[in-house]
């Protein structure tokens, strides 16, 4: 039995669907934490702002949320490419560019968080 495989397909599993939901929950929790911290910050001074991100717990939480954001964005953007970009070469190029961009953002975020 042969199945026609698509190079840039969704890899035929539940994995991405589940990953999208799990990253969504991580992001929702982080959004609430950050949103409340922001709204109830007495005054936006650099000291208070740096203080929020200087603890290891908040740094790790922020990085986890950012990784979740990039993974979540990857799934969503790839879905758009699969729906609208039909030629394999263009779709693959866009997918690779997207991955490179998102991984670059992650490195940027790590660099920012750990140089406070």
């Amino acid at each position: 039995m042969t199945t026609k495989r698509i190079v840039v397909g969704a890899h035929y599993g539940l994995r991405d669907w589940i990953a999208q939901r799990i990253t969504a929950v991580v992001l929702a929790v982080y959004t609430v934490v950050l949103g409340i911290s922001l709204l109830f910050m007495p005054e936006f001074s650099q000291q208070a702002w740096k203080g929020l991100f200087s603890g290891t717990f908040m740094r790790v939480l922020t990085l986890l949320a950012f990784l979740a954001l990039c993974w979540h964005a990857w799934i969503g953007v790839r879905d758009i490419y699969m729906d609208y970009i039909k030629p394999t070469a263009i779709r693959l190029t866009l997918q690779v560019l997207t991955i490179v961009l998102l991984v670059g953002y992650v490195i940027w975020a790590i660099n920012t968080l750990w140089s406070i």
């Binding site: 939901r21 929702a28 922001l38 709204l39 991100f53 964005a73 940027w108």
Partner: protein, 96 residues
Amino acid sequence: MFLLGLPLALYLFQNSLGSQASFEGYKAFVASPFAKLVLLALIWAYLHHFCAGVRYLLLDLHVGTERDSARKSALASIAVSLALTAIFALKLFGAF
């Protein structure tokens, strides 16, 4: 969003947490009304996605899948995201 919104957010995040000079640069950038409007548009987009996303998670758990309640929750997610955006707008423009 991921081409413009994310780099902008990372850029502002980096400047706001950098040296005193970079923090002043961040404040000067964010002080302009145009920048505030751009940020507010991004906040609105994010909060709308957040509310619609929570709605989908609930639908996945078979909460509110009937036509009538699904329609109501769709309207509610729009209303809640607009209300939350209004709160952030007040904060952003210094009302509290």
